[in-house]
Symmetry: C2
Subunit: 113 residues, 2 copies
């Protein structure tokens, strides 16, 4: 068993996918913790910040902790807020944009494939 | 992409492991959503509630959303509160007890093995 507070983990700027105003903390990983199958990450997106459209073979399971964020796919736009849950299937194009006045935080789990 | 609110998912009593005062919502699953590698669940443990000691081959990656809960292993006891993160490795004995006055909620991801 390992216990930590999310702020114990280094906060890194997200630079991929034309992202702006977005940070990531890799809370639980294979490298750091020996987690064999998936990693738990916590994102923060500042007002006006975004993660640009992208896709990859790994699915996402997401839980919104705070704030309200626009989630964009090729065909639809969703407004997701605290206590909403998102499932992004493998290979689906997706992106995020914070059009609100408050910081958005969300958890996102991704498999090691 | 699929979006839902956690309350859209049926809340079920946890009956295994001598559990009391504890419910689970299977937020994202293989069966319901086609998620291939892991399931996202949300637990609530009422004051005085518990999940008894148990173990299994699947690891857990846990994020505490609200409240304060005692997490017990064979060798140690942890007090975990909102925004704490727990990693329970495969096969490790673990249990939970809410000794506080408020409901505890936490997310727990588990692989399909």
């Amino acid at each position: 068993m390992k216990k930590l507070h999310f702020t114990d983990v280094e906060e890194l700027d997200v630079k991929d996918y034309d992202s702006t105003g977005t940070t990531i903390r890799w809370l639980i990983t294979k490298e750091k913790d020996g987690a064999p199958n998936f990693a738990l990450r916590r994102f923060e997106v500042q007002p006006g910040g975004q993660i640009g459209l992208h896709n990859h073979k790994q699915e996402h399971e997401i839980y919104i902790l705070a704030g309200e964020i626009e989630v964009i796919t090729e065909t639809e736009t969703y407004l997701a807020k605290a206590n909403d849950v998102l499932y992004v299937p493998p290979d689906e194009i997706h992106g995020y944009k914070n059009n609100g006045d408050t910081t958005v935080s969300f958890l996102c789990t991704i498999p090691y494939l």
